[in-house]
């Protein structure tokens, strides 16, 4: 248990291209550490004592919050390194180590950070000639050991992690098991090929380097980072809470912005909807079966021979008309646009890019040619700002023929995928803009493509309409411009199960807008699996059904009436929670907290949550246990937190925290529980699409904690423009239930937004007795709404309280 405790508590913020799904990836396509020369060498390199020392004479404060000194390797080469320590706002620290006079210049990652991180002053004390201490912020402190070099980090005087000097790229992280519980994070900014060995072993470093002298057994995680090139550039986030880490990390790399409302609703995709008739047929299916839908997608076959920005006009003779028809129900179309450009002089994108010299070059300066969907292809060099800009302009309505403002984008294959390349990608010696070899910058390529696409979409509406785009490849910072999905999964129960840990890994590393293909991309799910997947994904951030071209059709109504009903119910459930999701996405933009969270993010003191991978939370209020096994009629649910109460939203049954309960399930079940003490806004009315429901009334679900209190928030805006930022047209309400009163007040008094949306119903769970009277006051108006009470479940329902969502009001129960 202890091992696991610190594993989860310690967040390694690392970025790997396209986190592979467990069984689908052919591992033989990729190198192992043993096959990689530098990795093999680094792994073997284990000196007894580090040879790195700080040259005390060189220590200087460059400016407030920035300390610099030289780091010497006293054994072999006498190479000199520059060591830069930056103390940052929000309890964070950055360490950069680079050669002072490199033979070959080293790449420093660009594009990943929002900007230069803000420095805070550090207070330096030279302790005993062998240690330098710097304190900064509220309660953060670093201790720099001179000989051998080592850096220890403390928050609130508690040791949290260190950088040790076994050799330059060897780190050790320790955490003391305490009752205060601190969460720490580390972000390693490097775009080259890398390997990370992670060990969690209590005894591994139990002697010489132990920074704390007490004899308490210390659970520890050690990680060994081995990268082919670039510099040492590490950020240390010292928490102490998980939410602090989210804030600290997103302060540096940026938070995922609020997506358009429709983008967090339901998406229907397939490789491929064949033609306009097919698309219309599918849309009709949703109408006929009364299943809400917001977005329909077109994969690669919609293009003229995989020439992106074109249409196969035999199949899609009138794409504008198609998009207008889709938009009639305020729905959207997403088309795919990959970074490989078909080698064809008659293709305008190719010929123009070719003429301008816009393609990535081989080491001999020739345009690199590889193979992908269209056959022989070339790749745009997004590292050149001119090329990125040119590419972004391809998305303007006048350049992307057949596109309208209702069309949004999908960037796939952008690792990039090269069918005949080494490890199915670019050769490492390709040369990008600035003369950088691909080996230095490889992992940035996908992000640069989708950042450029994003910019194109912003410019398309002159900065008025929020873009939506989905990417498969990503890097730290990708969250600022794109949603991410977990790539090509398969229709297997194990793949449904693994969506939870995969999405949680992405979540805690800043990617809040994430999802996995519902049903599994490859092969055909049996109806039960499909239904369970729809149910699970209804409670995950990005909700899209997608399937491979070789699979049989799986639109929701193709599996008999019962399954159609179950799938409809899942999608309807998603739509009822959209006001809550949207509020959480807004909070992510503001505070960096992702909407989907591991249990420990909300209950960092509950050790039982540290290893949880079968359930997750949405915000701080909703606990979800998706059923991910074929034939079970019972699941074991752990309710986290001491003294908490959890309410089953189907039966209204309450459950006590810190207990594990066996819950009966059938095919209707989507086990979801609302935490006592939380107020969740929902929309129980049904509509065809989310945008149509924009002004529909809200139901507040109030679940009381043991003090009979609860609170929650609601955020609303027009659902698709930047007016919430530019004109402050938004509603952000705070609801507080306390002392038999429910109040609604604005969290953003400078905002203004006009909506007819009103509060149609308030359901209070855990209310102890049938009240005599309910009164609502709003300004000088007051009313006495009807109420009803069910003693068996302690449920109070207030019927039509009626205030506008935008108004201040107080509801008093007596």
């Amino acid at each position: 248990m202890k091992n696991i405790l610190h594993l989860v508590h310690y967040i390694v913020v690392l970025f790997v291209l396209n986190i592979p799904s467990i069984e689908n990836v052919d591992r033989s396509n990729f190198k192992t550490c043993e096959q990689s020369g530098f990795c093999r060498r680094q792994r073997k390199y284990k000196p007894d004592r580090s040879s790195y020392e700080i040259d005390l004479n060189t220590i200087k404060i460059v400016k407030s919050g920035h300390l610099r000194c030289l780091l010497l390797d006293n054994t072999k080469s006498h190479v000199k390194f520059k060591l830069d320590i930056f103390t940052l706002e929000h309890n964070s620290l950055r360490v950069k180590i680079n050669e002072r006079n490199p033979i070959r210049r080293r790449y420093e990652v660009k594009h990943s950070l929002v900007g230069e991180p803000k420095l805070v002053d550090m207070n330096i004390t030279n302790l005993d000639g062998n240690q330098i201490q710097g304190s900064f912020g509220k309660a953060a402190r670093f201790l720099l050991h001179v000989k051998p070099f080592r850096l220890d980090l403390f928050t609130n005087d508690m040791f949290v992690m260190n950088v040790n000097s076994k050799h330059l790229f060897n780190f050790e992280h320790y955490r003391k098991k305490t009752h205060e519980h601190a969460t720490v994070g580390f972000f390693w900014m490097n775009a080259a090929e890398g390997w990370i060995d992670v060990n969690h072993n209590k005894n591994l470093f139990s002697t010489a380097t132990k920074p704390i002298t007490d004899n308490i057994e210390i659970p520890e995680v050690t990680t060994h980072w081995m990268f082919e090139s670039g510099i040492f550039d590490g950020f240390f986030f010292m928490g102490p809470t998980p939410r602090d880490i989210f804030k600290q990390y997103t302060t540096i790399t940026g938070a995922a912005p609020l997506p358009p409302l429709w983008a967090i609703a339901y998406h229907q995709c397939r490789w491929n909807y064949i033609d306009e008739d097919d698309v219309r047929g599918v849309l009709n299916g949703f109408e006929q079966h009364q299943i809400p839908l917001d977005v329909i997608w077109l994969d690669i076959e919609h293009t003229n021979g995989k020439r992106y920005f074109t249409w196969d006009l035999k199949k899609f003779p009138n794409p504008e008309k198609l998009q207008n028809d889709i938009a009639f129900y305020r729905r959207k179309l997403v088309t795919i646009s990959d970074p490989h450009i078909k080698k064809d002089d008659a293709y305008h994108i190719y010929s123009e890019a070719k003429a301008r010299g816009y393609f990535v070059k081989t080491k001999d300066g020739q345009d690199y040619e590889g193979s992908c969907w269209p056959g022989s292809s070339m790749w745009l060099d997004f590292f050149n700002p001119d090329i990125s800009q040119w590419y972004s302009q391809r998305y303007l309505l006048e350049n992307y023929k057949g596109s309208t403002e209702n069309l949004f984008l999908w960037n796939d294959m952008n690792e990039p995928s090269v069918f005949n390349g080494p490890e199915i990608t670019f050769p490492k010696d390709l040369v990008h803009h600035g003369g950088w070899e691909d080996r230095e910058v490889h992992n940035l390529y996908g992000m640069l493509q989708h950042m450029s696409t994003f910019q194109g979409l912003v410019n398309r509406s002159h900065g008025h309409i929020r873009p939506f785009l989905l990417t498969r490849s990503f890097f730290a910072g990708s969250q600022r411009t794109a949603a991410v999905w977990t790539g090509d999964n398969s229709a297997q129960w194990s793949h449904l199960k693994v969506t939870v840990p995969m999405l949680l890994s992405l979540s805690v590393t800043g990617f809040g807008f994430i999802g996995a293909d519902v049903g599994g991309f490859f092969s055909n799910p049996d109806p039960k699996l499909l239904v369970r997947w729809y149910q699970a994904a209804a409670y995950q951030p990005f909700y899209r059904e997608h399937a491979h071209i070789d699979t049989t059709r799986r639109e929701p109504w193709l599996f008999g009436n019962d399954n159609t009903r179950l799938i409809r119910q899942s999608i309807e459930a998603r739509y009822t929670y959209l006001p809550y999701w949207y509020t959480l996405f807004y909070k992510q933009e503001r505070q960096g907290v992702p909407p989907m969270l591991p249990l420990w993010a909300n209950f960092p003191k509950d050790k039982n949550t540290f290893k949880t991978e079968d359930s997750f939370m949405i915000g701080n209020g909703l606990l979800v246990y998706p059923v991910a096994d074929a034939d079970i009629n019972q699941i074991s649910v752990y309710f986290p937190g001491e003294n908490t109460i959890w309410y089953d939203l189907r039966t209204f049954n309450p459950y006590k925290g810190s207990e594990t309960v066996l819950i009966n399930v059938n095919m209707e079940s989507i086990p979801a529980y609302q935490l006592g003490g939380v107020i969740i806004p929902r929309r129980l009315r049904k509509r065809r699409s989310s945008m149509i429901a924009l002004n529909d009334p809200i139901t507040l679900i109030v679940t009381l904690d043991r003090y009979l209190e609860a609170k929650g928030e609601l955020y609303m805006d027009d659902g698709y423009t930047y007016d919430y930022r530019r004109k402050r047209q938004l509603v952000h309400r705070r609801f507080i239930f306390k002392n038999n009163e429910l109040r609604s007040k604005s969290l953003d008094t400078s905002s203004k937004f006009v909506t007819e949306a009103w509060i149609e119903r308030i359901i209070v769970l855990g209310y102890p007795k049938n009240p005599n009277k309910v009164i609502i006051n709003s300004g000088d108006k007051h009313a006495t709404p009807l109420h009803s009470y069910q003693a068996a479940t302690h449920t109070l329902v207030i019927r039509r309280p009626g205030p506008l969502v935008t108004s201040d009001w107080t509801l008093t129960i007596s």
Partner: protein, 522 residues
């Protein structure tokens, strides 16, 4: 849904309050179809239509969902599962889901679903009615024309079925006759083959003996005197391990040719035997001739039938059999006359048969040929019977509506491929680029829904897709004037869908339903 779970139990105790509203008539009964008006009588209370709850009547259409079945809110969007009735004056009244009420989209042609929104809905009921009438009339006219053709098909089918029955009876009769004939021919064949075999055996025996004698006579070749011609002996004759053909001809053959003697003449015994056989067969033939006069005319019919037989497959098979027979004859001849295969130094070829044996063989050959001919006829007739029975087994609709499809193929040209369906047989995808054809299915079954089985047919178990299932094709029929493929697509990999127009799918009820030009209610 959350909503329904609390409604069931919660709203029993309710505090009554007055709801002020303007025009009760207009708002309260909004969305209620006339057929249900009686259930919405404006009394003190309203019972949800599913009987789950009784609520004050003021709760009806008050924009708050009380009933589990949504029946208290037919005129608002408050319930996720309610129904709103559009009156659609001038057109057909329709019931739509109540969540479409007030969503900013005009769903009713009279716009009544958008009474509460700022959206202006044009009343399109009149145009819709006109358009609908025009469409219905066009549809009716199409079905009328189609049904006429369909009746023709059905009539022809009935005729074809009875013709087939007659034909079947005839064929069965013929089969019996020629099977008898076959038996007779077989007897004759055996009669002729017995003496032939005897003569041949005798001939063979004689030859065997002579070979032994010959070798004995030519002791100059058999140098070791063991009555065997060994490799060493050959070497001594040739003077080498091998010689070429010219050398052999010029020197070796010259040297040994004189050693060979002529074969003996046939005996007189054999000649007498021949006469005997000829006599016996003549007699048998005479008897058979008498028998065949009773079934005269069979042959003519037979020819007529084969003329009708244009089925590719059977044609093909005929052809193959002919070829096989031919080959068989040739092989026999080759063996009998072979003298020129100089692979052995021994000339193993038997000498020619004597005239009498030859005569016997001729007679036997004749008997065999006659037998084979009749046997072929039997095969043919059997196949015809089988084909007819197969045809009779094909389900061409309860009244033969789809009988016209029998033995017909239809093509559809697409960008890359031509799709060809041969009805009740198979379907193919023919590459225009010159690749090989791919069978996308063999006739399987009618697969329409239980109330309309003949709406769809399926061709299954076609060529297997790479890494995937066997291809299949489903044809959906719709009424049309001609038999014609309208569309082929592949909605799912390897599962093809064809849309097919045919008079066979036209509906008499539709054809005869008169569309009243000025009728307002449908």
């Amino acid at each position: 849904m959350l909503l329904s779970s609390y409604i069931t139990s919660v709203l029993i105790i309710t505090v009554f309050a007055t709801i002020s509203s303007g025009n009760i008539e207009l708002t309260v009964l909004r969305g209620v179809p006339s057929s249900l008006r009686s259930k919405y009588a404006q009394l003190k209370s309203f019972a949800c239509l599913d009987g789950s709850l009784t609520i004050p009547f003021e709760y009806v259409n008050d924009d708050y969902c009380d009933c589990r079945d949504g029946s208290d809110e037919p005129g608002t969007s408050a319930c996720p599962n309610g129904r709103f009735f559009c009156e659609n004056k001038g057109y057909i009244g329709t019931s739509i889901p109540s969540h479409l009420v007030g969503d900013g989209i005009c769903d009713c042609c009279d716009g009544s679903d958008e009474y509460e929104t700022s959206v202006v809905c044009n009343n399109t009921c009149f145009e819709l009615a006109q358009k609908s009438r025009a469409e219905q009339e066009a549809r009716r006219a199409l079905h009328e024309v189609g049904v006429a053709k369909k009746k023709d098909i059905m009539a022809k089918s009935i005729a074809a079925v009875s013709a087939r029955k007659v034909r079947l009876l005839e064929l069965e009769q013929e089969l019996r006759t020629i099977e008898n004939e076959l038996k007779e021919k077989e007897a004759l064949k055996q009669l002729a083959e017995a003496p032939e075999n005897e003569a041949k055996e005798k001939h063979q025996k004689l030859w065997d003996e002579q070979r032994a004698i010959q070798l004995q006579k030519h002791t100059e070749l058999d140098t070791d005197q063991e009555n065997e011609f060994t490799v060493e002996e050959v070497r001594s004759i040739l003077g080498a391990d091998s010689v070429n053909f010219d050398e052999f001809n010029v020197t070796v053959f010259e040297q040994i040719s004189n050693s060979y003697k002529k074969l003996p003449q046939p005996s007189t015994e054999a000649a007498a035997h021949l006469e005997d056989v000829t006599e016996k067969i003549d007699e048998a033939l005479k008897q058979q001739e008498e028998a065949t006069t009773t079934t005269s005319g069979t042959k003519g019919d037979y020819e007529e039938v084969t003329d009708h037989h244009h089925d590719d497959d059977s044609h093909h098979r005929h052809h193959h059999e002919d070829v096989d027979h031919h080959h068989h004859d040739e092989i026999i001849t080759t063996v009998a006359t072979s003298l020129d295969h100089g692979k052995h130094i021994h000339d193993d070829t038997a000498p020619e048969y004597d005239d009498e044996t030859k005569k016997l063989m001729e007679i036997a050959d004749h008997a065999r040929n006659e037998y084979n001919e009749v046997e072929r006829k039997v095969h043919d007739v059997k196949r015809q019977i089988e084909d007819l029975r197969k045809q009779a087994d094909v389900d061409v609709g309860p009244h033969g509506e789809y009988a016209a499809f029998m033995d017909h193929c239809f093509d559809y040209d697409e960008r890359e491929y031509t799709y060809r369906v041969c009805m009740f047989k198979d379907a193919k995808q023919i590459s225009k680029g010159g690749g090989s054809d791919v069978t996308i299915g063999y006739w399987d079954a009618w697969t329409g829904p239980s109330d309309n089985k003949y709406l769809k047919m399926k061709y299954a178990n076609g060529a297997t897709c790479w890494n995937g299932p066997a291809r299949s094709l489903t044809i959906t029929f719709q009424c049309g004037v001609d038999h014609k493929v309208i569309d082929v697509r592949e909605p799912t990999r390897c599962e093809y869908a064809m849309l097919f127009e045919t008079p066979s799918a036209c509906d008499e009820t539709i054809a005869t339903t008169i569309v009243h030009p000025n009728h307002e209610e449908f």
